[in-house]
Every structure is written in C-alpha cells, then in structure tokens.
Amino acid sequence: MWNLTLRNLRANLARLVSTAVAVITGTAFVACGLVLTQAIASSVAGNVELQYSAVDAGVVSQGMTADGPGALEGVDAALLEPLEALPEVSGAAGELVASTKLLDSDGDALRSQMLGRSWITDSELNPFTVDEGRAPEAEGEIAVDRGTVDRFDISIGDDFDLATPAGPVEATVVGITSFGRSATVDGGGTVFLSPGYALEVLGAGSEQYTQILLRSDGPPGELVAAARDTLPTNVSVLDGEDFRTEATASTQEFVSFLRPVLLGFAFLALFVAGFVIYNTFTVVVTQRSRELALVRSIGGTPGQVRRSLLGEGLLLGLGASVIGLGIGMALSALLQWILQRFDVGLPGAGFALSGWTVLITVGSGTLITVVSVLIPAFKAGRTRPVEAMRESAVDHSGTSMLRLYAGGALLVIGVGALLFNRFVQAYPLLLAFGALTLFWGVVVGGPLLARLFGRAMRSLLSRNLTGRIAADNMVRNPKRTATTANALVIGLFLVTLVTVSGTALRDWAMDEVAKLSASDFLVVAVTPIPDDLVQAVENLDGVTAAAPVQTALVSDATGVTALLSGADIDLLVDTMGLEATSGSLDDVAAGAGAATTGFGQLSEQRPSGGPPGPSSSTTEVGPDPSEQPDPEVDGPTLDIGESGSTTSQADVGQVYLLENPAGEIVEVPVAAVLELQLDTIFLGTLVNQDLFTEIAGTQPVGQIYIRADQDRIDQVGTDLDNIVADYTGIEVVPGNFIGQILGSVIDFLIAAINGLLGLSVVIALVGIVNTMNLSIHERRRELGMVRALGMTVAQVRSMVRIEAFGIGVLGTLIGVGAGVFCGWVVIGSITEVSIPLAWGRVGIITAVGLLISVFASIWPARRSTRIDMLEAMAST
C-alpha cells in the first residue's frame, strides 16, 4: 500500500502542492510564534543571568517589587555608604538607569530607545567591559556601547549633546563598551556615565539609585540579613536569586502574554487549512473513485484503500509541516531583522529552536492534515465498485436531510440567542453560545446556503448563458462549494467581528474617557521635574494656572505602598476642577487630612486607630508611578482595580497610618473623597504641601497640572512640547490624551489582530483556487465538449471566473454578514448608548473579500482553457 500511496502522491503532485501551501502557511506561523517568543524569553533570561550573575543581594524600593520597576521611586543614594561599610559586603554599587538620547548636530536623537546607565566601578558586579578607551570617570564623560558606535561611526573623543532627565548636557565619548559577546543589553543602545555624573543628570538631582547591587565573599544569607538590619523599612533586600527573577519578571509576563496570542492565530490558520485539506482530499477521492474501485475490484480491501489515503495525508502533513517549520524559522529571523532596522530591539534578539517547537509545529500540522483526510478516506473505503464505475462529474450523493435540518436549526438557535442577547437581556455566556452556534450553523448548513445562493445567482444571471451555467456548476456539489466558501467565512467573520466590535469599543471608551478629563495639559515624568522646568511652565504665555504636584510612594503600617501627592490644593482646584463627593476640600487645603479617589488608596484604619482589620488584605496598591503615561513606552493603563472600589470604599473618617522616612507612624484622616475624573487617578492620595513634607519628606515635583487660555490652547501645547523636548522622561499630555492613546491602542490592536487573521483569508484564497482547479480537472471532458460546440475561450474563462467569484462572494457575504450581526449584538451588550456600526470599515472588509474572490478566479480561468480539447474528450 505504501507503494500505491507514493505513486498517488506523485501523480497528483500539482494538486497536492497547493494543498501543502495551506499547511505550510499555518505551520510556518506556528513555528515563527514559538521561535520568537522562545528567543525573547531565553535570551532575556540569559542576559539577566549574565548581567547580574555576581549579585548576591539587591536592594530595591518597595514600590519596585509591587509591579515591575518604578523609575521615579528608587533607593536613596545615601544608603550606599553604610552598606559598603558592612563587613559582609565585599562589593557594592548603585545602579541608575534612565532614558537618555544621543543627539546629532540637528538636535535629533540618533536612536529613539537609548538608555543611560551609571558605570559600576566594582569590576565583579559590572557585567560590561571597556573594549577601547576607558570608563567614564568625570562629569561630561560618557562611554557608548559598541553596537551604537559601529552603527553611527562614533569615535573616542567625539562630542555629543545628550537629552537627559535633567535636560540637555554636553559630553565627550571616552570609551567603547561591550556586554559579553554582544554589544549591550539594551535593545536601543546604552550610554554610560560615571556614578556621580549619573546621579546628577540621570537622577536629575533626586539622589536615588534605581537599585543597589551587593556582593559578598561570605555566605549570601548573612549578607542579606546584615543589609536588612542596616536599611530602613521602605526598601527591600532580595537575595541574588529573587533579584534576578524580579528582573526577568516583566519580560516573562510579556512572553506569556504574547505566546498564546500568536499561537492562537497560528492555530486558527491551521484550522482554516484543515478545511482546505479536507476539501482537496474529498475531491481527490471523488476523482479517483474509479481508480479506487479498481483497486477494490482487484482485491484491495476498504481498509487498504483507507490506509493508502491516510498515508498520503500523513506524508503530505509531515512534509508540509517540516517545510513550514523551516519557513517559520526564517520568518522569525527576518522579523527580528526588520524590527532591528526600525530600532525596535526585541528584548534580547536571539535564535532558539527547541525540541518543543519542532514537536508542536510538525505535530499540529500533521495532525490537522490527517484528521482532515479521515472523513474522505472513510468515504473512499465505502465506495462500492459499481458506484465508482458510473462516470459522472455530478455529485449524486446529495446532502442528507438531517444535515440540512441540523444546519437550519443551528442557524435559527444561534440567531435567536443573539437576538435575545441584544433585545432582552445580555449575558456574556449566551453571547458566546449564540456566536458559536451561528458559526456551526453556517458550517453545517453551508450546503443549504450554497444552494440558496446558487439559485439566487442563477436567477440574477438568467439572461446570460455562461453565468447561468456557472451558477449551476456552483451548486453541482453544494457540499464542496460550502466547504470552500467556509474557509473564507471563518477569516472574514472574525475580521468583521473584531473590527465592528473593536471600533465600537474604541468609540465608546474614548467617549467615556473624554467625559472624565479635566485639566488642559498634564506634565508627567518618570524622573523628577527640575525646578527650572516648573518655572518655565508657570511663566509660559497662555498658561492661566499651573499646579506642580510632588509625588512619593509611601507605605502604611501594613506594608502596603501607595502613591501620595502633595500640592497647593486651591491651585489644583483651579487647574483641574477638583470636587469632593463627600467631605470638604477646604479641610484638605488646611492640612486637616487627605483627599482620596478610592483608587490606589491606602489600607483603611478604623477611626479608633486599632490594628488593621481583615479588610486590609483586600486593599490594593495604588497606580504604580511606572504606569504613569509615558507616551514613549506605552499608554497608561486605566486600571479600574479588580477588587478595590467595592471592598475598600474610601470614606471620610477613615484614618491612614503612614510611615515617614524616620520610621514613625503619621496618622492621616480622610477629609474628602474626590469625584472621579481622569487625572485624579494619577493623584492617588492627595494632601497639602505641609502634610506631604511631614509624611514623605522633601520630594521632587512629579506632575504639573495646567489650565490654559482656551483661545490659545494649541499654541500652549506646542510651546509646552518645546520646553520639555530637552528632557528625557518628561512628557506633556493633553487632557484628552488618554482617550487618544486608548483609541490608537485599540486601533493598533484591531489592525494587528486583523493582520494575523488575514493569514487565514489567504489560505481560503488558496482553497478556492484549489477547489476550482479540481473541478476543472473533473469536468475537463465537458469543457472540451463545449469548446468543440463553439464556446469561445473567453466564454469558457468567464464561466469559470463567475463560478470561482461566486464561491468567494458566498463566503464573503456569509462571513461579513455573520460578523456584522454578531458585532452588532456585542455592541448592544457593551453599552445602552447606541453606537453606530463602522459601516465604512465593513465596506472595506467586503471589498477585500470580493478582491480575494477576483484573485481566486484568475488562475482557474486561465487553466480551464489550457486543457487540450481533443485529449479531454478522448480520455475515458
């Protein structure tokens, strides 16, 4: 039987190649996703291992352990000295990292994502090495990584302007560095500054390190304990292991988010490929029914016939998957290269091919192929010799009544459930159920829909002979037509659904957000805002009021950390229109207590000031400063806490117990609850300046809220942008910024998802071409005959084109139609407010579907007239 299998594969090569394309596309994507995520994960882990290999203990701010690194809140630089003095400490270094840009002579950044790092003088703790020149030692000296040096042709001795958190500075390149075998750890390049200089320009005078690294020649446990004893409670000491785990956490999170998303789409593509494979083999079986019957009449058992076909599927699946794997790896390399070109360094570019990747890719590709071949193979085994000897290209098997009823029933139930969801009561589960049922209804009832569509098309084209025949041909085998169209349906259905509901979600969210914002501009920073900048903003023409806000992370008695802001309350009321829902802002202004939004609030203490109740465990940590809008990094996350607002409702009369730098507890009663508006979220817990100093000491300004002259608002925006341009890590955010960011993030997501879904649409295109070519092959005698009778080449082609186009239109109509319908129901469940459907985008998707259909019709039409008329008629 293997012999037969091999010969069949060879005989049907052209046909199988196009089937293989479907499998290859799917598996290539699976492989690419796996390789890419794996590469990111392992190279980051590897880099971190290398970067911090000598670290036996790390000292970080408590805020940092909560939700990833917070740049604003670091570790007091003054803590380094006592640590160095400890006998357990053999080496210590403060590490400071902040965004920094090398500027060219025009003042434009050479690379957009560069980082500035303090040079670590302890050679064991420092993973970087100086290749040429020397390490930066004084003010105005920098070392630059080899990658940047090579790319921009920099030499030692070159002078540069730098944009830094402290504003523009000038510096001279004194050294070139590398990191192990690569240039650096930072995808966008690294600039090194001497420790003192780094504190000045990277820290912008905050006198804080991002973290402190310690190493010991003795037992690490003793080091951690000794450091712990020396340090205040608002910093944490992690042992080497934990420290490295923390350092990789955010990347691991990114990978664990990215991987299922990429793979989800890859498997969807494979699923669609399954339809194409199923269809091809069904046709191959029909076409070969005579041959198969012959095999049976000369003694082949049904089992043998079946095994031969399954063998074909197995070989095809295996071969195509292996090719897919190779292409996927090439694809991921290409993708990394492209991203590198655009300076979007994926964290740690690398290339990793694990056994798992091979197994999953080849396994899934092969499995889906074999499964798709099962049904046709089973049917082939059942073919009775007599049946097969009857020569006809028409499917007489018909569609079973059961299938039609089942399909119809599923369609009705699905539509019903969705309508109920829209008009009566929205349940997410019912929505999912309805959408799934509708989908299966389309799949099962496909032949019914195909037949109805064919009939409609026939009456539409009744005056045109070729069109009429094409319409008839389309429903000659409704099952095949339906399966072919369904491959397109899946892709377009999802694209439409994502687009329609995503667009609605975007509009709705932007609208909601717009209602919330109050101040005209907000200057936010991940580094302290220097005083001269604050003054420049206050004095700017057109600014009617500007309220600088000091921020700090504070911990309460239970160890929960949250954001505390201090400002002139009256000024803040002027700029952002603060209002209290309960309590009085005047009390807050007078220093009688704090105002809070309920977001990022501290743990509640009973008025008695007794020990924290059980509710304290449900309090949440405030918005981490790192989540403040930094347009360069990512959009702000509007984290409307999972548990927070209901379980720990802020209320006037509650008392917060906060720890001041001296380690004493300060009692702060809640004097007002703020009305929710967008920018209040960034305030956390608000107190007046005096109280702030009492709790958190002197802290730099972290935000400035600005009210502008409404007539000059655009000019003010431009001016503000110009003022902060020389400072890295400081951004001007328009009041409606979050809405815009949210809008563009959602738009980006829609585009990204649709790009990925587009893959399945392309596979569907292959499917249509495939089916048409098979149909043409089946009907070649007939095509020869009509040409003998005088059908011109143009007529034959137009006949085939109409049929292929018809299949595409069928798939497009069903897919887009079902997508719009489901999307409309989804919109209904987002909000009561009526949001118009994105008909423009639906139109574009439909146009794409039709375009695909046109493409799908070109090749088969050509092919249809390439067959030799006489040969076709002579063949029996």
Binding site: H396, T466, I469, M785, V786, A788, L789, T792, A794, L870
Partner: protein, 270 residues
C-alpha cells in the same frame, strides 16, 4: 458575463443552410460541403513519426450522408477532427464550404464551429447541469441566436423527446442522451454534421433510431452528415462510404449494402 457576439455568417453564403433541399445542388453552390486537400497529420518526431493522415484528399457532398470506415488506427477520427476544425492538419488545406479554415485564427475557428458545424460524439455529449431542452439549444444560446420554435418542435418531435425536455441528462437513458445530441446538431441547421461513432455505445434498437434520424435529416431537410463508424449496418444508412487505411483514402462505395460493405472491409483487412 460577456457573450462575445460573433459577426454572424451571412446565411445566404452558406450553401445548404438557407433552404432544406435534397435535389441536385444548384450550379452556384460549391461541389463540396467540406473538403480536405492533400492533408497530412503527423504525430511524434522524425524518427518515430506516426502519419495519422498521409496525403489524403477527400470531399463531402452537400445534402448527402457520408460514412467513413476503416481499421482501428487508420485515421478516421483524425480526419474527422481536422475536417471539423477541432484540430489542425500538419500540412494541407481544409475547406468548410468555401472557407479555408487553415487561414482562421483560434477564435474564428471556434465561431465557425459554432455557426456551421454540428457534432455528435460517441459519449459525454451533454452538459450535466442543463436540461435536455437547454442542451439542445446550447449552441444557439452560445451564439446568442434566436431559437426557431417551429423548427425546434419539429426536430424534438422527430427524435421523440417532446416529453423529456425538462429532464437532466442523468435522468435519461444512453439512447435518449444520443437523441438529444442529434437534436442539438439538427436544431442549429449547420452546414455539416460530424458524428464520430455516434452509435458506438448503443444497443441495436437505439442505434437504428439514431441512424434513422440522421438519414431522415438528410432526406427531409437536405442536411449534410459525415459519420465515422465501425458498424457495417450503420454504414448502410449512408449514401456513400469512404474506406481509410493508414491515413489514406483507399476505397469508396456508393449506395452501400451490408454485404458490399463487409466485402470491402474484408478486402481491406486481407
């Protein structure tokens, strides 16, 4: 989508197509409905060439029934295909009426087949998705020509298909399917009908019916028919029988009878 309308052939120039006539051809008409002059059809390359037609010259008289016979592989189908414009000669000329088809391009040839030639094949004659009626008018529909309903009724009644017109081919017997094919050939009133073993797959009764219709078309409507056959009985329906061997015309018989045909064939084989 677009049914290219061919420049219609002027019916007046079509001998035998303008009026049903079986009397002696008028003097203005060419002597042959179709003609192959010094035709060669060579397959394969120089060292292994097969001469399917080897310098054959033959003409088919209008309003006559001509049968072509000969051993298997003698070139009958090749001759017919070349004469009907389905294939081109390697060398030589083919005339349909006065048109030299070797001067026509592919499209003109297709239109010529559509307008002037009718076909009946041995099998796979019909489009399975069309009804019998639609199959019969198919060439006319292709050309966008109007169906002459009276003529259509006459043809359909003659071949006995009046009550089967709405049936699909799969619902018809093999003999009925061939009758549909004959009706299709007749209904367009072609200048000449070519039939390659039209009764090859039929039992003797169905064969007799088909041959009877063809004969009738010649006698009653002045139709020109050329038929390839292996069956001596079928050949007796013809006015004239041509015998082929190795791609050449080797013999000819007028007013054939079963015995005379068998005798000639025996002579050829021997």
């Amino acid at each position: 989508m677009n049914d290219p309308q061919p420049p219609p052939f002027d019916p007046a120039t079509l001998p035998g197509a303008d009026a049903p006539q079986h009397s002696a051809p008028a003097p203005t008409q060419p002597q042959w409905a179709a003609q192959v002059i010094d035709g060669y059809k060579i397959y394969g390359s120089a060292d292994s060439e097969v001469r399917a037609l080897d310098g054959i010259t033959v003409g088919f008289e209008p309003s006559r029934f001509t049968a072509i016979m000969g051993p298997s592989g003698s070139g009958k189908s090749t001759l017919m295909q070349c004469a009907a414009g389905l294939d081109r000669l390697s060398q030589g000329q083919v005339f349909i009426g006065e048109v030299d088809i070797s001067t026509l391009n592919e499209k003109q040839l297709t239109l010529l087949r559509r307008e002037r030639i009718g076909f009946v094949f041995q099998q796979f004659n019909l489009l399975p998705t069309l009804t019998a009626g639609e199959n019969i008018t198919f060439p006319l529909d292709l050309a966008g020509r109007k169906v002459d309903q009276g003529w259509m009724d006459q043809v359909v009644t003659t071949v006995g298909l009046a009550d089967r017109l709405t049936h699909k081919p799969s619902e018809l017997s093999g003999g009925q399917q061939q009758r549909v094919a004959v009706a299709r050939a007749l209904v367009e009133r072609p200048q000449i009908i070519f039939a390659d073993e039209p009764t090859g797959n039929l039992d003797s009764q169905s064969s007799a019916d088909i041959l009877h219709f063809l004969r009738d078309a010649v006698d009653s409507f002045g139709q020109t028919v050329v038929m390839v056959t292996h069956d001596p009985v079928a050949a007796t329906y013809a006015d004239r029988v041509l015998f082929l061997s190795d791609g050449r015309l080797v013999d000819e018989l007028m007013a054939p009878t079963k015995d005379s045909v068998l005798a000639r064939m025996g002579a050829l084989a021997g």
